[in-house]
């Protein structure tokens, strides 16, 4: 249902009211923006020189933020690859015919979906040293992101595999394929095509979650911004703090919006080029799985 079904094509009276609403709405938004700007200007946050520092290579701010972004992308990429591989295995395990595989795998998946990511990361960071194994913040972050997201991705993959028409696997069995052949040659390739948009949406979530490295002291984008602020504080006080935080936030939003747009574009493209005759809607949507940053326990 698209929006216009909720209201009639506006007549002259309604058009006038909408116009009034538009004006009032714009005024409200402008008022809010103006309030923030006035407050910021009152504190001198809008001076050009304060913002120039972000783009000035001599201040080493751009290099620092860039290094932070690279570190963030590095963790996210590694975490995504590992989590996808592990998630696919877990999904296949959960769909197994053997109870001794299915039950433990299901327990693992449900456990990691019920526990906050930060707890998993803390565990990966704090536990190994108690057994005498030193671990870097980077490794802990990657392990935490991988374990947590593999459980989420396992559910995505499972939904993808289950969404494939039953006739596909029946036909494959019919021509004498084995179970693993049906999975690797018939089900997974089709499932991955369907899951791709959701997987990319999950990548956005993972990228956002990598900012938790901030809390355990990994120098990703947010931590870099924070240390820049602390570095400048020695000489300049909080003169540049706000600007650096804004820069970090804008970088996050920029990268994530691009990925989100890509996911949606892919979603549309795949939906259009779908060759299956039944043309039924995908049981997977990008929105369904990215509920508030990370998977949630579905009963």
């Amino acid at each position: 249902m698209t929006a216009p079904i909720l209201y009639d094509v506006p007549g002259p009276k309604a058009r006038r009211r909408i116009r009034i609403g538009t004006v009032v709405g714009i005024l409200l938004i402008l008022g809010l923006i103006a309030y923030v700007l006035v407050k910021l200007a009152g504190n001198g946050q809008l001076e050009g020189q304060r913002w120039a520092v972000i783009f000035d290579p001599r201040s080493s701010v751009p290099q620092f933020l860039l290094r932070g972004l690279v570190a963030t992308l590095q963790v996210a990429a590694l975490g995504m690859v590992l989590a996808t591989a592990m998630g696919a295995l877990l999904a296949i395990g959960r769909l197994s015919d053997h109870r001794w595989v299915r039950i433990p795998v299901t327990t693992v998946i449900e456990f990691f979906r019920a526990v906050p990511l930060l707890v998993v990361i803390f565990a990966a960071f704090l536990l190994p040293p108690t057994f005498g194994v030193p671990i870097s913040a980077y490794a802990a972050l990657v392990i935490g992101l991988t374990l947590y997201n593999s459980a989420v991705i396992a559910e995505i993959v499972r939904a993808g595999i289950l969404s494939i028409d039953k006739g596909q696997s029946e036909a494959a069995y019919g021509i004498g394929m084995r179970k693993w052949q049906v999975m690797t040659f018939i089900l997974l390739p089709q499932a991955i095509r369907r899951m791709l948009p959701v997987l990319i949406a999950q990548l956005v979530v993972l990228l956002k979650d990598s900012s938790l490295g901030f809390i355990i002291g990994y120098f990703e984008l947010l931590r870099s911004a924070r240390s820049l602020v602390e570095f400048f504080r020695v000489d300049f006080g909080d003169q540049y703090s706000f600007q650096i935080y804004v820069a970090a936030a804008v970088i996050y939003i920029f990268v994530n919006v691009i990925l989100s747009i890509f996911a949606r574009w892919l979603d549309k493209r795949l939906a259009r080029s779908k060759t299956s005759p039944e043309g039924e809607a995908l049981p997977l949507t990008v929105e369904q799985f990215s509920a508030g940053g990370g998977g949630a326990t579905t009963p």
């Binding site: 249902m1 929006a3 079904i5 909720l6 506006p10 309604a14 909408i18 609403g21 538009t22 709405g25 714009i26 938004i29 923030v36 407050k39 910021l40 009152g42 504190n43 946050q45 019920a114 526990v115 906050p116 990511l117 930060l118 707890v119 803390f122 565990a123 704090l126 536990l127 108690t130 956005v204 956002k208 979650d209 900012s211 938790l212 901030f214 809390i215 947010l222 703090s241 706000f242 935080y245 970090a248 936030a249 996050y252 939003i253 994530n256 919006v257 989100s260 949507t285 929105e287 369904q288 990215s290 509920a291 508030g292 940053g293 990370g294 998977g295 949630a296 326990t297 579905t298 009963p299």
Partner: protein, 215 residues
């Protein structure tokens, strides 16, 4: 095990903080999210634009960054907020975007005939939304909203990085104070989270069955 019993009060206090943040943030997110969803389907373009902008920004910003702006950024516009309300605000504002999307998908799932019928009997936009569309939409969005709620409870753990003694914050704290009891601490924290999320999941599934509309 003895360690957990000795520090039982500590865990209960921490769980209380987590629940407190969750409840108030959840309330804020539900109210704000519903308003945003109504704005996104409204006939007034700037309202639609504003809500879309809000959702896009908050869905693509890490919650940690939102916390940053509430705790360290708001003082720059002369609004100092103490950590606990700050955490509620941060989690609430962030989650509102997801609530909005869940409700909007619910609105979209209501069959067009319902809205057409509402209009045909002369209801205005706000009336048809209030009396016909939203009550049904809320029913269909029980499962996604439940997921958002559970994800939000887990997301409150990020407050640990911003001076709030909630459940996750116990881990680094007790890791320093009682290093050899780390596994016990971990088990305690996980159990405390499960005590919140598992009943929530059960409640959502009960609610889902009761709210389901037979079509």
């Amino acid at each position: 095990m003895g360690f957990l019993i000795d520090n039982f009060g500590l865990f209960v206090d921490a769980m209380g903080q987590t629940l407190l943040i969750s409840l108030f943030a959840g309330l804020l997110a539900l109210v704000l999210g519903t308003i945003l969803a109504a704005m996104r389907v409204s006939p007034v373009p700037p309202l639609r634009g504003l809500a879309t902008f809000y959702v896009e920004v908050f869905r693509n910003t890490p919650l940690t960054v939102v916390f940053f702006f509430i705790i360290f950024g708001l003082p720059q516009i002369d609004t100092v907020i103490s950590p606990l309300p700050g955490a509620m605000l941060a989690v609430g504002l962030y989650t509102a975007a997801f609530v909005c999307e869940a409700i909007r998908s619910g609105i979209n799932s209501i069959s067009a005939g319902q809205a057409e019928a509402a209009r045909a009997i002369g209801l205005t936009f706000s009336q048809s939304l209030r009396e016909v569309v939203l009550p049904q939409a809320f029913r269909t969005v029980v499962p996604p909203l439940g997921n958002v709620w559970i994800a939000m409870v887990k997301n409150t753990s990020i407050a640990a990085g911003f001076f709030i003694p909630e459940l996750s914050a116990l881990l680094p704290r007790l890791a320093n104070a009682a290093a050899d009891e780390l596994i016990a601490t971990l088990i305690g924290v996980v159990i405390a989270y499960l005590l919140i999320t598992l009943p929530s999941a059960y409640g959502v599934s009960r609610l889902e069955k009761r709210a389901a509309i037979l079509r």
